[in-house]
Amino acid sequence: MPLADGSVAGVMTTQLDAALGWARKYSIFQYPFVTACCGMEYMSTAASHYDMDRFGAGFPRFSPRQADVLMVVGTISHKIAPVLRRIYDQMAEPKWVVAFGVCTCTGGFYNNYSTVQGIDTILPVDLYIPGCPPRPETVIHGLTMLQEKIQKTQGQFR
């Protein structure tokens, strides 16, 4: 954070933020919350042919307390919505949320009694990857966009 008086010390912390952003964006520990068919495309992106690890996101963690990107992959029903919210609340700051597939973005074609009409109604979303399901190239494009966003993250987190 720059100091309030705009003194030179601010330059140092700005550069520190840039270094932290660089470190964070290439060491993404994602939590895959996989509920539906998009999971196959997520696996395809993570496996060796497309290999998300080339972009610094190769390490899924299955505890939300160790993850910094929550990837919501697949249809979210009203029944599981409180679980997803709790997973999000358990993650440590800084954290980002990716809506993977059109069901998580808007509910997709499930406009019915059981489906959440976009996970942005229950938690804040940083990146929307549309598609039914999205191609691995789309996912990798989204991942690089998320990295740009992570690079710009400022502030102090405890």
């Binding site: 009203h78 919505a81 409180p82 919210r85 009409q117 942005d120 109604t121 229950i122 979303v125 940083d126």
Partner: protein, 163 residues
């Protein structure tokens, strides 16, 4: 294709004595309950309005071959008339819970039947034809279940700006 072997013969059985009819069919060799489901004929104005459908199959355990199917229909209203078939086929346990969950058809000897798929807080039975198609009952989030106004509200959230 003129004949669908998987469809089988359709037979109407009285709801009040469904267990007798079903155990009779089981005695004839229909040993597998393939599926149990329900149809709401509200739009056709029929009384009683539901058809509870048991789909049965003769499975030869020695060869693993399907040697005949039958579809047993019970016309029932929402009140409890049917008796549970879970003593004939254990698979009927969850299928009856699903029929209760989606259509609200209850069973005489299962007074405390629980929903199978939906949450306990859900009111009504969504596959009934008089369940409003736009009615939403979310547990969290906007009560209407509508979409958020715009994704742009996320631009100002704390985890991005760090403020």
């Amino acid at each position: 294709m003129t004949e669908n072997r998987l469809a089988g013969e359709r037979r109407d059985i009285p709801a009040a004595s469904n267990i007798e009819s079903l155990s009779d069919l089981k005695g004839q060799g229909y040993n597998v309950l393939v599926d149990m489901t329900c149809v709401d004929y509200l739009a056709q104005g029929r009384t009683p309005r539901f058809d509870v459908i048991y789909r049965l199959m003769k499975l030869d355990a020695a060869t693993g071959m399907d040697s005949g199917r039958i579809e047993a229909h019970c016309a029932v209203g929402p009140e409890a008339v049917l008796r549970t078939a879970k003593d004939l086929w254990p698979a009927a346990d969850w299928l009856e819970r699903e029929v209760w969950d989606m259509f609200g058809v209850s069973f005489v000897d299962r007074p405390g039947i629980k929903r199978l798929l939906l949450y306990e807080e859900f009111e009504g039975h969504p596959l009934r034809k008089d369940y409003p198609i736009s009615r939403r009952q979310p547990l969290i989030g906007p009560r209407s279940g509508d979409k958020a106004d715009s994704p742009s509200f996320n631009l100002h959230k704390p985890s991005i700006t760090g403020q």
